[in-house]
Symmetry: C2
């Protein structure tokens, strides 16, 4: 494996809410994504989900509070907790979660990307 | 859990090569550390180890090549691979590894911090 330069990786795609895999470590996938606007409410039954922001502002809406993440900030959504990400335009962030994690959890959604279709970049 | 602001966390300690835990996700610990100079050659038999640099420059020396990490860059040392971190003064970085990971692997060293003594910050 080579090193990962996040800035270079973000230049390779423009789509929003489409996580791209950049590394694997101990069965966890490190993914990057761009966000803008609101995604959908969902939860992951068995997986914690880590978010780290590089650029912009990502709000992790929980049912009882909002976690507002600026660049250099991180939050872990515990397994089972409902959340809905919302982002300012051109927000760049990283996620870490097990390879088994479904994009939008158990939620039925046209926006969900299947585990098999999540690609390395 | 609350969000983690890395800049704030780095203000809380000045020691070098002493990882502090800032979060846990799926059994992985997210740790931050400051580095300067060279640590020691070691390896982790069963754990991959992820490094991400915020400030300064961290070189992951491998036996056959050097991986030089600038801010915004990441590298995963696969399990079993010998490595020796080396850093410019005032280098700030993040690591991710399973809770079971020993600081300096199986190496006998006076600098090693035991798993039990690694503290949350």
């Amino acid at each position: 494996m080579d090193k990962v330069n996040f800035s270079d990786k973000f230049k390779k795609f423009d789509t929003i809410w489409t996580p791209k895999i950049v590394a694997e470590s101990n069965g966890q996938l490190i993914k990057i994504a761009k966000g803008s606007g609101e995604l959908e409410w969902h939860f992951h039954k068995n997986e914690d989900e880590l978010f780290y922001v590089f650029e912009g502002e990502l709000t992790i809406q929980l049912r009882n509070r909002d976690i507002v993440l600026s660049p250099g900030e991180m939050f872990v959504v515990p397994k089972g907790v409902e959340h809905c990400p919302k982002a300012k335009p051109n927000t760049h962030f990283m996620m870490m979660e097990p390879a088994s994690t479904k994009h939008l959890g158990e939620t039925e959604s046209n926006h969900a990307i299947s585990v098999e279709d999540q690609e390395w970049i």
